[in-house]
Symmetry: C2
């Protein structure tokens, strides 16, 4: 049982600080070199899919298409069907991409900049474009909108998704707000599952910009650690609300099969899909169909994909549980940190005392443990309270993770106690 640091006397704090400095010095002496920076699967997660590498690769799609040759811009029918089955989307509204859904998102923003959508002014010709960034959020999303010069507006996250009161009031009043980033299931980094109400309000809300777009990055759509959370069908909600073109829905097999060689997709309304294909047919003759066949040979169908994700979860559950147990053991009851308990996804997010995230990360780094940079979960890498830290437990082996997490907790406490005794 940890003590509540706010109740400690100056003398007690000084004592605790001495103990922590000693523990920290002992870690430094170990000359660790551990990495918890990115949401990168561990080698044992990759091994699950190695039948892809070891099996002969089929050449022909079900309809006889020779997948070695040119063509097939929208992707193989069976690949679109698999994604459709898994995500509950009409396969006709799915377009298959290359190995990176981030690339599909970037290209989608680039097209909006260059061409606009459904007759709207290209965003690149507008004096100002703003984008809503629920935060803590995903640094690569924020990097895309920063690249294109959009003003990013931070929207607070709640336990049900973005604070919808804030979102609604912003989009209603300002037609330069053109979109929002969403990771609706097991959000990056907090693991928040968007509630039904959040989905419905996002679909139904009145936007001053008719070309407002929701970038619905369902990166962790099947990445459950326990019983699956269920996400409300945003396409159906948009349809009901009379906003059929509002959502661009992204997904990939990067964290189902191989991160570097998965298959990505974008789904949207028929009108948006037609528009995407109109531009994509100028950009490429088609994405890699052989890799679609390889992926299909491994996963087979929606049940096969589910079985694959159970194998992934079996590998990840002990890592997440180790992280949460270490946090509880070292920080529970101290009042020095708060965290959520994700039921899926790739991260655990932790809030330190205000003003202690950067120092915590610096301490960890100097003792040989690389974490995601402090601030990364906010637009412009600017966490106004300097407190949010993203823990990425997937890559290190379990033994290394145990060491890294213990050190990390020491760093959280040391940064805090140094501040309290300063």
């Amino acid at each position: 049982m940890n003590c509540d640091f706010s109740k400690l006397s100056s003398a007690e704090l000084a004592g605790v600080r001495r103990e922590l400095e000693e523990r920290y010095a002992a870690f430094q002496a170990q000359k660790l070199k551990l990495n918890m920076a990115r949401g990168k699967p561990g080698a044992e997660q990759l091994d699950i899919s190695d039948a892809i590498l070891d099996s002969a690769n089929p050449k022909f799609a079900a309809d006889g298409t020779d997948c070695r040759n040119y063509g097939g811009l929208e992707g193989l029918p069976e690949m679109r069907q698999l994604f459709g089955d898994v995500l509950g989307i009409n396969p006709d509204n799915i377009i298959i991409g290359g190995n990176s859904s981030l690339n599909l998102m970037y290209d989608a923003v680039a097209r909006l900049m260059l061409f606009g959508t459904q007759g709207s002014t290209p965003w690149g010709r507008l004096p100002k474009v703003k984008f809503l960034c629920p935060a803590p959020g995903y640094d690569r999303h924020f990097a895309v909108t920063e690249e294109f010069g959009f003003e990013m507006i931070t929207v607070p996250m709640t336990e049900n998704g973005p604070d919808m009161d804030v979102v609604e009031s912003l989009v209603k009043a300002d037609d330069t707000i053109k979109g929002i980033w969403c990771v609706p299931l097991y959000s990056n980094p907090e693991g928040v599952v968007y509630s039904d109400e959040t989905v419905t309000r996002l679909a139904a809300m009145k936007c001053a910009a008719p070309d407002f777009r929701i970038f619905w990055d369902n990166a962790y759509g099947v990445h459950h650690l326990y019983e699956p959370a269920v996400l409300k069908d945003i396409f159906a909600e948009c349809e009901k609300a009379g906003h059929p073109d509002r959502v661009l829905y992204f997904f990939s097999t990067s964290k189902i099969t191989y991160p570097g060689a998965g298959v990505s997709m974008v789904a949207s309304s028929p009108a948006n899909c037609a528009e995407i294909l109109k531009h994509m047919t100028i950009q490429t003759i088609g994405h890699d169909k052989l890799n679609q066949l390889r992926t299909l040979q491994l996963l087979k169908n929606a049940d096969g994909l589910k079985a694959q994700m159970e194998k992934q979860a079996a590998l990840l559950r002990p890592k997440f549980e180790l992280v949460l147990e270490t946090l509880e053991k070292e920080l529970g009851g101290t009042g020095l940190a708060q965290w959520k308990t994700p039921r899926g996804g790739y991260f655990v997010a932790l809030d330190t005392l205000d003003g202690c995230a950067k120092e915590t990360i610096r301490l960890a780094k100097e003792a040989g443990v690389t974490m995601t940079g402090a601030g990364a979960t906010f637009p412009y890498k600017n966490d106004p309270r300097d407190r949010n830290i993203r823990i990425a437990p997937t890559f290190p082996p379990l033994e290394e993770l145990a060491v890294a997490m213990e050190l990390f907790c020491v760093c959280v406490k040391l940064a805090a106690v140094r501040k309290l005794t300063a």
Copy 2:
């Protein structure tokens, strides 16, 4: 020996026309369904690479990189080395892409539109952008520049490449001319090899626009049918001339291994490569490294790639020779058509009498043979003399090609004689 149609009397022409109408009707009765529209490799060309599909796929790059996982934005060192060796480019100046060099070209233009280059104004913020399009040329190039709203200026092709007197006088005088499309070796569709002088002049010419860019699409850089033609090193020429950033050089293995699953590259100056990577790192975490390993496992090194291309040439030579023999036999000496004799690449280009290309293509189509659309080899699909036709002999099997070519020649003659007797 064919007769010169310009020397025939009206009565003789009428007789020839009757014969041709009969031959054409006989073809129509066969209800053919043949395709010579695109530069698509035939199935037997794909079979050459099937060790890719049948072999176990390596996981690790030479430096130990796990190619299944994220990372490796600029591509595997050994892949950059292979392209460097084959093309005589410093591997440090090579960036590996996905399966489509067209995609790299499109993205390069999109970046110039959105961000400019080396500090220049983004092209999308300029009131006007013009692009030089040597023609006959590649329809997909023209489609990219049309997509972005550039005004395309047709530059005549000579037997040594674009007419450099025209190019030089245009780029010197007009700073809204921002680039040129080039297929320097076995140009699409004429098979022209750019002369040393053309390369030197392109590198050295004075451009009013400091951000003028040569899109150097060396699509057929190793696609020799006979002894290899040698292309002068444009990077060295640009360096000498003090224009190190002028060239964006594209290449891929699409027509070396598999069209749908090859490996692409862009090469440029260190400054341009740094700029490309700065944007690419926002766009993607990295392209498919496993496919790079697969490609390397098959081709091994520059000698292996050369041996692979000799196998390709052995399959393509009979097709090209059949096309040229049929043209000579049916059209030689008639004065009804002119064509070049390519020594590599993917096409044979033919000029009909003025005003006869569309009609020739229509006649072929109605007898069941699909050709590239007339006009496709010019900007805006507008061939001012309506005479250029691109013959793509690679896809049909030899027996089908023989039938298709005979019909095609009948169509060329029939369109001409109908015009002459109208």
